[in-house]
């Protein structure tokens, strides 16, 4: 794989991404004026990525893993050029097809066929390119005559099929995939995986965001993003092992809030009321536990689950 620099198709260098926290809230002129008067316009920066660097070589398939909110999707958007990083750069050598949300940007009033043309034209293909690919797209999507019906009559599964078919059938060198491998029913899902495997054999480069182990069939390499940094980059089974350990076990660096949450829980161990109830429950997702307002999780006090912020 390491064939030198000319083989690099994706070059990500020192990418940092900052969001103004207030940008999320203020999106009206009224709000801006009101806050300016109240001197409430603090621009607290939220740093989503803090200097991420990696290279992806031609024909490589790389999995991006990390917990929710770690910055994986933002990184994918930067790689595809949708977002511009605050500092650093992401260079692409070759045509890139982002598969971030299937069926996004379809026009409900237009037919499936019209949407194929529109979607592909927006991705940057010419009429000639599209004309040549349309039969393959229609065949792959298995939509049959529905291709002549307006998209708004489609089910979400049909929409996803169409989106996937367009993305994988148009010629490109790099595919960016964001947790969309679960497309359609079992049969279609199988077909998608077969198609991806075929594309991989043809030498396409993949960058896949995923939580599941399913990506192991494509990827030999994984990059673990944690807290806006590359925590580990290497062989997928090793990285996945460490990642799974970190996610299920005690967090490596407990945040202050986590410590605080743990205190009352320990205090409650003395009270004999709750334990039986809590112990009966299987350790569910951390998010679910954190949502409970009653801090009665004594069973997990010795092995505290990480509360979601």
């Amino acid at each position: 794989m390491e064939n030198g620099r000319e083989d690099v198709v994706l070059e990500v260098r020192d990418v940092t991404m900052k969001f103004n926290k207030y940008e999320v809230g203020v999106n009206s002129l009224k709000e801006l004026v009101v806050r300016a008067f109240k001197k409430n316009l603090k621009k607290s920066k939220f740093e989503c990525l803090k200097g991420v660097s990696f290279d992806v070589h031609r024909g490589e398939a790389v999995a991006l893993i990390g917990k929710n909110g770690a910055g994986k999707s933002t990184l994918l958007k930067i790689v595809s050029g949708i977002l511009k990083p605050t500092t650093g750069y992401a260079k692409r050598y070759g045509r890139i097809t982002p598969l971030l949300r299937l069926g996004a940007g379809f026009d409900g009033n237009a037919t499936g066929l019209e949407n194929i043309y529109l979607n592909a034209a927006i991705l940057g293909y010419t009429k000639k390119d599209i004309d040549a690919k349309v039969p393959a797209i229609i065949e792959f999507s298995e939509l049959g005559d529905f291709i002549y019906s307006p998209i708004k009559t489609y089910s979400s599964g049909m929409m996803a099929r169409l989106g996937f078919s367009i993305a994988v059938n148009m010629e490109s060198e790099i595919l960016l995939i964001d947790e969309i491998l679960a497309v359609g029913d079992i049969a279609f899902n199988k077909k998608c995986h077969e198609k991806l495997a075929e594309l991989q054999k043809q030498g396409l480069t993949f960058l896949i965001v995923s939580h599941g182990e399913a990506v192991k069939r494509y990827c030999k390499r994984a990059i673990w993003i944690d807290g806006g940094l590359v925590r580990e980059d290497g062989d997928i089974s090793v990285v996945f092992k460490h990642y799974t350990e970190a996610m299920t076990k005690k967090p490596a660096a407990p945040q202050p809030a986590a410590a605080q949450a743990a205190k009352p829980a320990i205090a409650q161990v003395q009270k004999p009321a709750a334990p039986a109830h809590a112990e009966a429950k299987p350790a569910q997702s951390a998010a679910q536990q954190a949502q409970k307002t009653v801090p009665a999780q004594p069973a997990t006090a010795s092995k505290p689950a990480q509360p979601k912020q």
Partner: protein
């Protein structure tokens, strides 16, 4: 170089698809479909002509009133529909803009071209009305209210300026709306104000002799020049050099501001959708 021309053809193709989609969606699946694009301005004109001719009389500035009112409205309509549809176009496409790297300029541009296509249909409506008024059947004495002049073809020289002017505002508004979602309400009001400050159904001549400020500020209203030039042509006159300069200078100012603004905020748009 070849790559460059290839990408321009591609961009043109995308633009064509977007314009076609806009026009189709406008009258999607309505009873008589695309015919509405001609019927709509025609019927609107009839209503306005019916209402306002009672107030302003049959002739205005030497032009038959129905033609006066229709000509003003279809010129103003290019700017109106282009800007008001562009206002929300980037936010409306947020799905797509967050999913793929798209040159964002294509969306306001497509809207402006759609407005231009609608103008084409409205122009047909205008020709129908003019043809009708040119028949020697009126007044019971075989008089006609309108005569055609060759200068009407000069409208193609107004359109580039009008398009560029509308495009500049469309660029500006589409970008601004991403950050301030309440400007939609402000713009609706401003557009109404602008409509009434442009002599669309009244005539500036009716202010002669009064100390109204309106005629004095009118030369700063860009839309006045486009409307005025078009009416000159309909009456068989060629607009003055001053009018031509005003039309193209306003267009240039508008496109420069709009374009620079959009370039300045381009990289922040995807994060704010």
């Amino acid at each position: 170089m070849k790559n460059k021309t290839g990408s321009i053809t591609q961009r043109m193709y995308l633009m064509r698809l977007l314009v076609r989609r806009n026009i189709k969606n406008q009258y999607y699946r309505s009873f008589i479909g695309v015919l509405w694009t001609v019927l709509n301005p025609l019927l609107n004109m009839l209503v306005m002509a019916f209402v306002f001719s009672a107030i302003f009389g049959r002739h205005t500035d030497g032009l038959d009133y129905p033609i006066y009112i229709l000509s003003g409205n279809i010129i103003f309509g290019v700017m109106r529909s282009s800007t008001s549809s562009s206002l929300t176009c980037l936010v409306g496409q947020s799905d797509m803009l967050q999913k793929t790297k798209v040159p964002i300029e294509v969306f306001p541009t497509a809207n402006t071209f759609s407005a231009l296509v609608t103008f084409g249909f409205s122009f047909i409506a205008l020709l129908i009305v003019a043809g009708f008024r040119a028949l020697p059947i009126w007044d019971g004495i075989g008089a006609s209210y309108y005569t055609f002049h060759w200068q009407i073809v000069l409208v193609v020289l107004i359109l580039p300026a009008l398009t560029i002017f509308s495009l500049g505002i469309s660029f500006f508004l589409s970008g601004l709306y991403v950050f301030f979602r309440d400007i939609r309400h402000i713009y609706t009001v401003l557009l109404t104000l602008w409509t009434y400050l442009t002599p669309l159904f009244y005539s500036l001549n009716s202010f002669e002799g009064t100390d109204s400020i309106l005629p004095k500020i009118m030369k700063f209203n860009p839309m006045y020049h486009y409307v005025d030039a078009f009416r000159d042509m309909l009456m068989g006159a060629i607009p003055s050099v001053k009018t031509w300069i005003a039309m193209y200078v306003f267009a240039a100012i508008s496109i420069i501001i709009g374009w620079l603004f959009l370039q300045a905020i381009k990289n922040k748009i995807a994060a704010n959708l």
